[in-house]
Symmetry: C2
Subunit: 279 residues, 2 copies
């Protein structure tokens, strides 16, 4: 069995940066150090961080003092303000691309546009962006959602950084049919697109694909869905223990890829494990 | 033979207004009164205006003094300035919807956007809009043109008022895939769309369509093309003398429509003529 790793797999810029900030914070600040939600969407990495002293919590209510790292997805300003007022030291590890989406949404709102965010309303990044604008912003999941919303004459739109450009341009296209003015900021991070393209290129050249990464990672889940849509057998797993020998009977070429929050060491370990299975 | 007239046929708001301004100008100002190019794109109307004393000329070079009516399509500011400096009194009959397209293009340019105009670069309206922005604006005819242009990070787009919304939204959609920020002003006049829809509705319910209006009228020509695309027999004619009896052999139901610059009296006269043929 031949085993290949997709190009562009491994941490994206924003995740790499958030981890560096987290490690630096452990060196500089006193414990306890918290994140609201996991720093990144990968269980193994979060487990390691916990050993260093970085503890993910659900919300501010359960903690009283210390340092709060704002994770790569960002946080609504109201949460940051609340943390400050409780006396927490804030270390901002928001991905600069996410920050930009927040800033563009804020700019649109300040200039009087109705603000739309294309994304998944349950995703922390989208919650952060919506939080910056306040109650008036609306999240849409795709262009068909637009028909259910009352659209203003002047409408602005930004995207969750991991959305597809195709979806974004469809939404903008729909808006131009309704509004007199549409101002669209393409805040999609190129890393997601490059990763998707490289993974699909590999997938088309193998018999079976393994997508490694957190089940709570939206971009990893989407990667597996994209490959599946091409009718290539694919499994999304978090770790080695989920591998099943019988998946590979008759398989000659296997590809491995991972999401933005999947560490390269985990992908390499997966390759080694598959090589063992193959013997 | 039954004969029907499409709803929404006859002068659009901008043409009606330009004609009123022209008639008022004849009453108030001394002759000569000029327009650069015909006031509207209809030969019969222009002939009547000429009798009143309104003379269309190709450019300013051939005239020396008098009043200049800026026609419904507008004029580039450089031409208006030149006319003023030659001592002409300026009467502005630019359609308010065209004016708006000019103003939005100017706003985009002032705010530092690369300016695109979706339209026909040879149309006087587009020349006027491009003239407002100056040399940096680019005219595109459809979304595929965009691939041949170097697109800036911040791009703005307006449309010739008689373009289709479908074409406009396709162009905007394409731009969002390339630029970081797209600001789109939908400057399309609803009258064109309503006229097209009403004409198509009638066309689908008859055996033959007559489109009446100037051969130099872009919106009239487009109307005939739209109907033809639905595989309904259609003829675009300027006047009665072009009618051919043999078009109607075996035809039971005929529809008539006209462009934004086609007078209602001409459409009614056409109906009468068809009734005579039908006897």
């Amino acid at each position: 069995m031949e085993i290949f790793i997709a190009e562009e797999s491994g941490f994206c810029f924003g995740v790499e940066r958030a981890l560096k900030i987290a490690h630096d914070t452990v060196k500089k600040e006193k414990l306890p150090i918290y994140t609201i939600g996991p720093l990144i969407h990968n269980p193994q990495v979060v487990k390691e961080l916990r050993k260093e002293g970085i503890i993910p919590v659900d919300d501010l209510d359960s903690i009283e003092e210390g340092t709060l790292i704002v994770r790569s997805h960002g946080l609504p300003p109201s949460v940051i303000e609340k943390a400050k007022s409780k006396g927490f030291k804030i270390i901002d590890a928001t991905c600069p691309f996410v920050k930009q989406a927040q800033e563009k949404a804020e700019l649109l709102s300040k200039e009087g546009y109705q603000v739309l965010v294309l994304g998944d309303r349950e995703h922390p990044e989208v919650k952060g962006i919506l939080g910056v604008v306040g109650g008036s912003a609306v999240c849409i999941n795709n262009h068909t959602n637009i028909k259910t919303i009352s659209i203003s004459d002047r409408v602005g739109i930004v995207a969750q950084t991991t959305q597809s450009t195709e979806k974004f341009s469809k939404a903008v296209s729909e808006l131009t049919k309704i509004a007199k003015e549409v101002r669209a900021f393409n805040t999609i991070c190129t890393s997601t697109r490059l990763r998707q393209e490289a993974s699909l290129t590999l997938a088309r050249n193998v018999d079976f694909m393994i997508v490694v990464g957190g089940k709570n990672s939206a971009n990893t889940t989407r990667l597996a869905a994209l490959i599946s849509r091409e009718n290539i057998p694919v499994k999304h797993i978090e770790g080695m223990n989920e591998l099943k020998r019988n998946w590979f009977s008759g398989i000659k070429r296997v590809g491995i890829t991972g999401g933005a929050s999947t560490p390269k060491w985990l992908i390499n370990k997966m390759k080694k494990k598959l090589e063992e299975i193959s013997l």
